[in-house]
Amino acid sequence: MRRAVDPPHDAVARVELERAWSTPPGFLGWLTSARHTSVATRYIVTAFGFFVLGGVLAALMRLQLARPNLHLIGPDLYNQIFTMHGSTMMFLFAVPIMEAFAIYLVPLMIGTRNVAFPRMNNLGYWIYLIGGILLWTAFLLNVGPDAGWFAYVPLSGPGYSPGKRVDIWAQMITFTEIAALVAAVEVVVTVFKLRCPGMALNRMPIFVWSMLVMAFMVIFAMPAIMVSSTMLAMDRLVDTHFFNPAEGGDALLWQHLFWFFGHPEVYIIFIPATGFVSAIIPTFARRPIFGYPAMVLSLIATGFLGFGLWVHHMFATPLPQLGATFFTVSSMMIAIPSGIQVFCWLATLRLGRVVFRAPLLYALGFIALFVAGGLTGVMQASVPLDLQVHDSYFVVAHFHYVLIGGAVFPLLGALLYWLPKISGRMPNERLGRWGFAVLFIGFNLTFFPMHVLGLGGMPRRVYTYAADTGWATGNLMTSLGAVVLTIGFVLFLANVAWTLRWGPPAGDDPWSASTLEWATSSPPPSYNFAYLPTVDDRDPLWSPTEQPVVTGLRTDVREILITDAIDATPDHRQHLDGGSIWPFLTAVAAGIGVITAIFTPWGVTIGAVLCAITLTGWFWPRVPSGREARRSA
């Protein structure tokens, strides 16, 4: 049944490919790398670093809330901590890590050598890193943002948040917007133009579809936050009064703009997670995904609907009832495509077999937790019920079910699933199962009582509560659950560390999976495939027919095959850029500009001049290097 897509071939080609595609050694090579797997690995490690930091903040909050009237953390620090927790998890962990997986896996899954714009890819990473360092340095210097990850005006405006805390937040947003847009454009172009011959749109793995939908959502959602965070920064820096009601501005406008980004943001995190599940389940069900067209259409429908329900975050504001009803219906409607996906996963398992391995456990846990979180989501689509539970701990419970249960569980499963590909070593199955069990129990112990706390009237974002509120037991249970949850994460990380150090060799395809990333060695060579594959099936590695490979691409220079956007018929050969120091320098230039703009409007000018210089260097026309010129002559 299985057969190699990558046939034996002459060693000369491999040597030449390696020379053409490898990254130069040393520190400079590290800064300039244009290799999608290196940049993505770096992205994944950095995002996990921020995940751990965000988790430490969560643990601090649970410590403070464990008992009523504790004074371990004062209100000023607590407000910074919960703002940092939300901002770190959303902007520095969840979105970047999804993009990182896309950057790592999409080129391998569609059978090409790299992403479409390797240098821009590198730029995105450095920009993201600078943004993250800015936010965390500020926090450690006690200038961490403290107006919430949503930064509602007027509280975040110049009148009520003097100092630079909110400016740090607004500019961190600028960095992550740039990084996210860069990655999104990267994914869209790579998916549309770089697919291997034969991989028509209707043969693309669901995973790739989910990353494509995610990328389009980023492109349409990010401008809203870009506009609003810039307006906020201008209100604070040059007194523009966009959001100042005393000067004709509007405080509600912020909420519209923020949630027009903020709600799609949730799906930007969730849709890639469904992509992980759609990759894991068929492998361990030993059959193709059930209902491929329905799955793809559900993803696209979710992508569209995700933009039509932002007002359900604003039901308690003075808005007309009729409008609210529209958003109730659209919010409930999104349960239909989500339901279709869940039913198709269940059907896939039912029609196939169930191979009980750790990555699948995470996918199964995801289904249970996501259905639970989705059901409480349907409750909040209703205006009357939302008026009660909005901004209470019920909401905190709900979105941790959909974000941890619905996105982090698939992500951890995905990491175990692709770790053999990334590292070349197999994770420990026993440790993987224990990690899952402890995480699953710890997660429910932590977040289930929060539903009850919310119905008990406990609002979000309070740094303490009185003993007579009736919330003490629920909070203590939540805090104890957080201890179990932490142990689960430690077990997971221990498994990753064990794998990297002692894991047995994985081989090319340890799970006997069906997609192209398993057709090359683990870890993949710098050129991904010695010969680009072709496909005639949605599950090429399970296809019984022998497939030809692409020949005729040059092996001595970086050359890729561009194919048609719909049918993936070969179109032309394209030279791809190699590593360069200019993306790094551009990121530094932009970083100087954006950070200076926190303190003076001149930052914009300085940043523009520096970026103009570095971009000129980046795009300066160059004569091909000696070897390339010789070869093409």
Partner: protein
Amino acid sequence: MSRIALAVVTPALAACSGRPPVLDPGGPQAARIASYWWLNFWIAVVVLAAVIAFLVDTVVRRRATLTTAIVPVEPRAERRVMIGVSVAVGLTAVTLLGLVIADATTGRGLRSLSGEEPAVTIEVTAQQWWWDAEYWDPVPSQRFRTANEIHIPVGRAVLVKTKSLDVNHSFWVPGLHGKQDHIPGHNSSLTLKADHPGRFAGRCAEFCGLQHAHMQLLVFADPPEVFEAWRAAQRRPAAEPTSQPALRGRDVFMSGPCVLCHTVLGTPAGARLGPDLTHVGSRTMLAAGTVLNTPGHLGGWITDPQSIKPGNRMPASSFPADDLQALIVYVSGLK
């Protein structure tokens, strides 16, 4: 897996000692929302149980290992499952439609109260981090203000107009109704009704800065005659102090920093920056529900408000010991 779910649910239910206010309605609106909640709750339980049961059943029946050959796609089985999936999607859509209808009915029920002529109109102005409440009356001399504690008559519609002086806040008394945001520059209101006497805890639900945690509001639903008596008392200016310490306390108040921010009707103190203190002695809590209104807490609040409620707008004031005692006697006597 069901055993895990059970182990999770049982202690969580045990944790809700006493019924949570959202599910223990004190008025018709909260009752409507609570019944809509129970509809949702049972639907959620059934759906979640069905999905988990199906999952567990599948796992038990179809266990295999990685070496298992790829399961061939059988058109007949596919078709059967396709029908199953379509039915499930159809049921989802029908359930959602039912929920939309129930939601619209509940929403209409909530709004029906706005049609009633309100017996009392209260303008609640939220600010960092307390609530100013003005009981409105067409006759200006009959209006009065209080802070952080409002009284309403049982069985009558009460119109609450929500305004904000600074940042966003949200008015939430879960035993009576859902939230209404206070947004500067936007007027909004909600209509409440309590159907039995009682004390309902409320709090600010929208993050509003340092002391968001200590911005509470108490609503006392009184039988109509009790309410009328309370309202009549609140309309009167502060009583003349009779005792010697109280008289001295009044002098300390009027000559000290207190008058810069507070009002005591019937005296020269008329500033509006802080809560109206005309009848502060009749309130149960201090500092927007932070501490009980006892002479000891009052003294602590006057001399060191920042350690009770860090970041709040009340500055610390120092008085000689006997002046402080007199001040406490005077202020707690403002019944």
